[in-house]
């Protein structure tokens, strides 16, 4: 087994365990932190695919921003308000066994369906045959993306700044209006 494959299995394992903890951890705040770790694992997979910039995006946006926003959201909401509902009525309890089975079967069904779709896409795309790094990928380093960004795509890049500015102003205006209410 070569080093890249070994690294892939380690990183994928960390990511999967973290994702599993996200749905099983009793503390919702810890679940949010586990999600951050899962994202770090995905960044590692991007790195193994030699997509440095995507790995940077993954860490900055997903680990840095999305996880922070979600943790903020958890801290701003009253977690104590989230409670388990009252005892279900008799006719629901009668079908509880069936319901329990369904509750375990349904996520499995969804996961199996998703895995099947991904596998189907993988076999259709012919990525399985890609052993050597394709030539176009050589320009996909951070430097390559930067060079393209500041020559060919200079105008869209500046427009991105305007879009970000609009998002910032919009967030402020909306939040201030909430405040006045």
């Amino acid at each position: 087994m070569n080093t890249t494959l070994l690294a892939f299995f380690i990183v994928a394992f960390i990511s999967l365990v973290a994702a599993w903890r996200v749905i099983t951890d009793p503390s919702i705040l810890h679940a949010g932190l586990w999600m951050g770790l899962s994202f770090v694992g995905v960044a590692g997979i991007f790195l193994l695919l030699e997509a440095e910039f995507l790995a940077g995006v993954q860490v900055l946006v997903y680990v840095g921003a999305i996880t922070t926003i979600i943790l903020f959201g958890i801290m701003l909401s009253d977690v104590g308000e989230v409670r388990v509902g009252p005892e279900p009525p008799g006719w629901v309890q009668a079908g509880a066994a069936w319901h329990r089975g369904l509750r375990h079967a349904f996520p499995l069904l969804v996961a199996a369906g998703f895995a099947g779709t991904m596998l189907g896409l993988y076999t259709q795309s012919g990525w399985g045959q890609l052993r050597e790094r394709p030539l176009e990928l050589a320009g996909l380093s951070v430097g390559g993306i930067g060079r393209e960004l500041f020559s060919t795509f200079a105008l869209p890049f500046e427009i991105a700044s305007l879009v970000l500015l609009a998002a910032l102003l919009g967030a402020i205006v909306l939040a201030m209006r909430e405040e006045e209410r």
Binding site: E50, I69, F72, M75, G143, F150, L168, L169, A175
Partner: protein
């Protein structure tokens, strides 16, 4: 390219091992003597009031939103910083224009007293 990340992996391993070893050795050496006062949260020496998990004011969410925008800005600046030396002056001005536009937003947030910690 991936070989360059050997340093990162080494760094990660050393960091994890250092923390794990410190905690393990500390656990061996320290006395184990817990009592309720010691286990209570530390609030500047006063007896803590209420639960540690309070709901924060919604107002603070705006800090997260402003941070989000500048986080995406940092992402673009990452690609910018990598090529700046070879791309030369045009790229420098493009980057400065990019930052300047977002600086307007920062000034707006500042003037609207969004950044005030209340």
């Amino acid at each position: 390219m991936l070989a360059a990340y050997t340093d990162v992996v080494t760094f990660l391993l050393v960091a994890v091992l250092f923390i794990a070893a410190s905690l393990f050795l500390g656990g061996l050496l320290r006395p184990h003597h817990p009592y309720p006062e010691k286990l209570s949260p530390y609030e500047c020496g006063k007896a803590p009031i209420g639960s540690g998990q309070v709901r924060f004011k919604v107002r603070y969410y705006i800090f997260a939103l402003v941070f989000l925008v500048f986080d995406v800005e940092a992402l673009f600046l990452y690609a910018w910083a990598v090529i700046l030396r070879q791309a030369g002056w045009p790229a420098l001005w493009e980057g400065i224009a990019f930052v300047a536009l977002l600086f307007v937003g920062l000034i707006y947030a500042w003037r609207k007293k969004v950044l005030k910690w209340v």
